[in-house]
C-alpha cells in the first residue's frame, strides 16, 4: 500500500518536473552558468562582452527599457566609460521654456533608448512581429539563459522536409512552434570583442544570454550573499531553539 502511494507520488513529481519542457521537440541543452548554485556569481568579462553584443547587434531591434546607463556600473565600467556609452545615445527631452521638445545627448541617468518609438513601428519594421523587450527575457522563459543561448546558436537549423516556412520566418528548433520572425542575428565575428576573445556564434550567444540574466536579475549576487548569511544565522538559531526545547521537555520524557 505505502509503496503504491510512494510510486504514484514520485511519478507525479517527475511529471511535474518535466512537463514544462514537453512543448519543444528538441531538448534544451543543460548549459552551466557561473551564476548557478547558491554561491553563483556573474562573470564580469562575460557580462561586458554580452553588453557589447547587445549594443552592436540586438539593439538594432530590441529595447532594454528597464536598464539605465548608470546601472552598467555593475558590469565593472567606470564613470567615464558609462558617460561615453550614454553620450552615444540621443534622447528626446522637454518641453523646454518655449514649450518645445528637444533632442540632447544621453546622460548616465537615462534609460537605454529603444530602437523604435513604439510597438507598432517596431512591428512594421520587422515584417509584422514586434521584437520583444529583452530586460526580463531571461526570467520570462523557462530555463531562460540556456534557452536564449540555444535559440541564438544551434537553434537555427534547416527546416525538416515538408515543414513550411513563410517569407520573413526562420526555422528554430527551440522556439515554440519553430517558426521565428527573427532571422539568425549572429554570424561568426559579428562583433570584434574588446578583450580579444574569439567571437564565435556560440560564444556571443552565451555572453549575451549571461548579460540578459543580469538585466533580468541585477540583484542576484546581493540576493545570494544575503541568503547565505540569513540561512546560516537561522541554522544556529534553530539549533539553539532545539537545545532549549530538549531541555524544557527533559522532565517529561
Amino acid at each position: 500500500m505505502k509503496r503504491v502511494v510512494a510510486g504514484v507520488l514520485s511519478a507525479a513529481i517527475l511529471a511535474f518536473g518535466t512537463q514544462t519542457m514537453a512543448a519543444e521537440d528538441k531538448a534544451l541543452p543543460d548549459f552551466k552558468w557561473s551564476f548557478d548554485g547558491i554561491f553563483g556569481q556573474f562573470d564580469r568579462p562575460a557580462l561586458q562582452r554580452g553588453f557589447q553584443v547587445y549594443r552592436e547587434v540586438c539593439s538594432a531591434c530590441h529595447s532594454l527599457r528597464l536598464i539605465a546607463f548608470r546601472d552598467l556600473a555593475d558590469l565593472g565600467y567606470d564613470v567615464e566609460q558609462i558617460k561615453a556609452f550614454a553620450a552615444e545615445a540621443t534622447v528626446v527631452d522637454g518641453p523646454d521654456d518655449e514649450g518645445e521638445m528637444f533632442e540632447r545627448e544621453g546622460r548616465p541617468s537615462d534609460r537605454i533608448p529603444s530602437p523604435f518609438p513604439n510597438a507598432k513601428a517596431a512591428a512594421a519594421a520587422n515584417g509584422g512581429s514586434t521584437p520583444p523587450d529583452l530586460s526580463l527575457m531571461a526570467k520570462a522563459r523557462p530555463h531562460g539563459p540556456s534557452y536564449i543561448r540555444a535559440l541564438l546558436s544551434d537553434g537555427y537549423e534547416d527546416a525538416p522536409a515538408g515543414f513550411e516556412i513563410l517569407e520573413g520566418q526562420s526555422y528554430n528548433a527551440y522556439f515554440p512552434g519553430n517558426r521565428i520572425a527573427m532571422a539568425p542575428p549572429l554570424g561568426d565575428d559579428a562583433v570584434e570583442y574588446q578583450d580579444g576573445t574569439e567571437a564565435s556564434v556560440d560564444r556571443m550567444a552565451a555572453d549575451v544570454a549571461h548579460f540578459l540574466m543580469w538585466t533580468a536579475e541585477p540583484k542576484l549576487e546581493q540576493r545570494k550573499q544575503t541568503g547565505i548569511k540569513v540561512v546560516l544565522f537561522l541554522l544556529v538559531l534553530t539549533g539553539i531553539l532545539y537545545a532549549i526545547k530538549r531541555k524544557v521537555w527533559a522532565d517529561l520524557h
Binding site: K2, V8, A23, R223, L241
Partner: protein, 426 residues
C-alpha cells in the same frame, strides 16, 4: 479578580487596570492545559499564523511602492525589484510567502483529516478553518493579478469568466466584477483594494478559530480527550518552545527558497507584461490552485439544462465546501486514524488523488490528462460522499487506550491492548 501571580510592580500595575497578562496566560501560557502527546504535525497551526504575519508585514511595505494602474503596475513592481532598497527581498518574500502559506495550511488541513480533528466537539472550529481557506484563496488569487504579468491578466480573465456560466445573470455578474467589459484598470483597482482588506478579515477569523480551539483544546495523535491533569501540560513553556523551534525549521526552508530559488514556484511568463491581445499557450494558475483547476476542467458534458462549464464551476467550489459537512459525513466515533486501519490507507490514497489532480491541472485539458482528471475528480467526491459514510459503519476500529498518559507512560501505543476499552464515545 485575576489569578495571575507576579512580583513585578509594573506588571502588577498594568494587570490591575488591564488584565492582559492573565489573558495571555490563559491563552498561550501556564493556564492553558494542552495534551502532552502532540506531535510535530501540530506545529503547522502556529506556522500558518507566522505566514499570515509575514504576508501582512511584507504586503504593507510593498503597497507603499506599488502602483495599481494597468500602465504602471508591472513597472512599479520592477522598480521595487531594482531600485527600492531591499525591494527584491520584500517582493520575493511576499511572492514565495504565498506558496509557503498554502503548503503550511494544506499540511494543517490534512493533519486534521488524518486525526479526525473535525469531529465533535470541534466541528465549528473546523468549519471556520474551511472559511479561512476560502478567504485565503481569494486573497492569493487577487494578489497574483497585481504584478500585471501575462499570467496575472489571463488567470484573472479565465477565473472571473467562470461566473458567466451562471444561467441568465452570469454575463451581467462578470461585467459587474470587472467594472467594465474586460479585465482592465477598474478590475486591477478593486483587486488591490480587496487584496489589502481580506488579510485583515483573515486575522479576525483566525482569532475566532483560536477562540473555538480554546473551548476544548487541541485534538491529539490518539484522538481521545484529556482525562485529567496527568494527560496535559501547560502550553507555556512546553509548546511555546516547540512552536518556536518549528518556526526556525520553517524559516530555514522558506529563506532557502526566497534567496536561492525565488522563481522556482512561479510561472516564467508572468515576467512578461500583460497583453490583452496575446493569449499565452498554456494558462495555468499558481500550483496551489491546480487540483481545483483540474476538477473545473474535468467536466466536458452538459447535463440537462446545466452547461458543462457550470457543472465544472459548481464541482470546483463543492470540492472545498464539502469539507464544511465532513463532520457529518464521517460518522465513525473514533477520531485518530491510528485506530482506524482502513481509514488510514484510504487517507493516503486520498492524498495521492489530490496530488494526481494537481498534476492533471498543470497539463492541458486533453486526453489522456482529461480522463485521469475525470477519474480523479470522481474519486475525490466518492471519498467524501460514499467511502467515508460507508466506512463509518463498516470499519472495525482498533481498541482505544484508556487515556493519553497510559500509552505515553508505557512508551508508545504498543502494549495497550490489555487495558483498552472497546470504543470511546466521542
Amino acid at each position: 479578580m485575576s489569578d495571575f501571580q507576579t512580583t513585578n510592580p509594573v506588571i502588577k500595575w498594568i494587570e490591575y487596570r488591564l488584565p492582559v497578562f492573565s489573558f495571555l496566560d490563559h491563552a498561550v501560557g501556564t493556564k492553558y492545559p494542552t495534551a502532552k502527546n502532540l506531535s510535530y504535525w501540530w506545529n503547522f497551526g502556529s506556522l500558518a499564523g507566522l505566514a499570515l504575519v509575514i504576508m501582512i508585514v511584507t504586503g504593507i511595505f510593498l503597497a507603499m511602492q506599488y502602483t495599481a494602474h494597468v500602465d504602471y503596475a508591472f513597472d512599479s513592481v520592477e522598480r521595487i525589484m531594482r531600485d527600492v532598497n531591499y525591494g527584491w527581498m520584500l517582493r520575493y518574500i511576499h511572492m514565495n510567502g504565498g506558496s509557503f502559506f498554502f503548503i503550511v495550511v494544506y499540511i494543517h488541513i490534512f493533519r486534521g483529516l488524518y486525526y479526525g480533528s473535525y469531529k465533535a466537539p470541534r466541528e465549528l472550529l473546523w468549519m471556520i478553518g474551511v472559511v479561512i481557506l476560502l478567504v485565503m484563496m481569494a486573497t492569493a488569487f487577487m494578489g497574483y493579478v497585481l504584478p500585471w504579468g501575462q499570467m496575472s491578466f489571463w488567470g484573472a480573465k479565465v477565473i472571473t469568466n467562470l461566473f458567466s456560466a451562471i444561467p441568465l445573470i452570469g454575463e451581467d455578474i462578470v461585467i459587474w466584477l470587472w467594472g467594465g467589459f474586460s479585465v482592465d484598470n477598474p478590475t486591477l483597482n478593486r483587486f488591490f483594494s480587496l487584496h489589502y482588506l481580506l488579510p485583515f478579515v483573515l486575522v479576525g477569523m483566525v482569532v475566532i478559530h483560536i477562540w473555538a480551539l480554546h473551548q476544548f483544546g487541541s485534538n491529539n495523535p490518539l484522538g481521545i480527550e484529556t482525562k485529567g491533569p496527568q494527560d496535559s501540560i501547560p502550553f507555556h513553556p512546553y509548546y511555546t518552545v516547540k512552536d518556536l523551534f518549528g518556526m526556525g525549521v520553517f524559516m530555514i526552508a522558506f529563506t532557502a527558497v526566497v534567496f536561492f530559488m525565488p522563481n522556482a514556484m512561479g510561472e516564467a511568463i508572468n515576467y512578461q507584461e500583460a497583453d490583452p491581445l496575446v493569449t499565452p499557450a498554456h494558462i495555468v494558475p499558481e500550483w496551489y490552485f491546480l487540483p481545483y483547476y483540474a476538477i473545473l476542467r474535468s467536466v466536458t458534458f452538459d447535463i440537462w439544462f446545466l452547461s458543462a462549464k457550470l457543472i465544472g464551476v459548481i464541482l470546483m467550489f463543492a470540492s472545498i465546501l464539502i469539507l464544511l459537512v465532513l463532520p457529518w459525513l464521517d460518522r465513525s466515533p473514533v477520531r485518530s486514524s491510528k485506530f482506524r486501519p482502513v481509514h488510514k490507507q484510504l487517507f493516503w490514497i486520498f492524498v495521492a488523488d489530490c496530488i494526481l489532480l494537481g498534476w492533471v491541472g498543470a497539463n492541458p485539458a486533453e486526453p489522456p490528462y482529461l480522463y485521469i482528471g475525470q477519474a480523479g475528480t470522481a474519486y475525490y467526491f466518492a471519498h467524501f460522499l460514499i467511502i467515508l459514510p460507508l466506512l463509518s459503519v463498516l470499519e472495525r476500529p482498533r481498541p482505544l487506550p484508556n487515556s493519553i498518559s497510559e500509552p505515553v507512560l508505557k512508551g508508545g501505543g504498543t502494549a495497550m491492548g490489555a487495558t483498552a476499552k472497546p470504543m470511546e464515545k466521542a
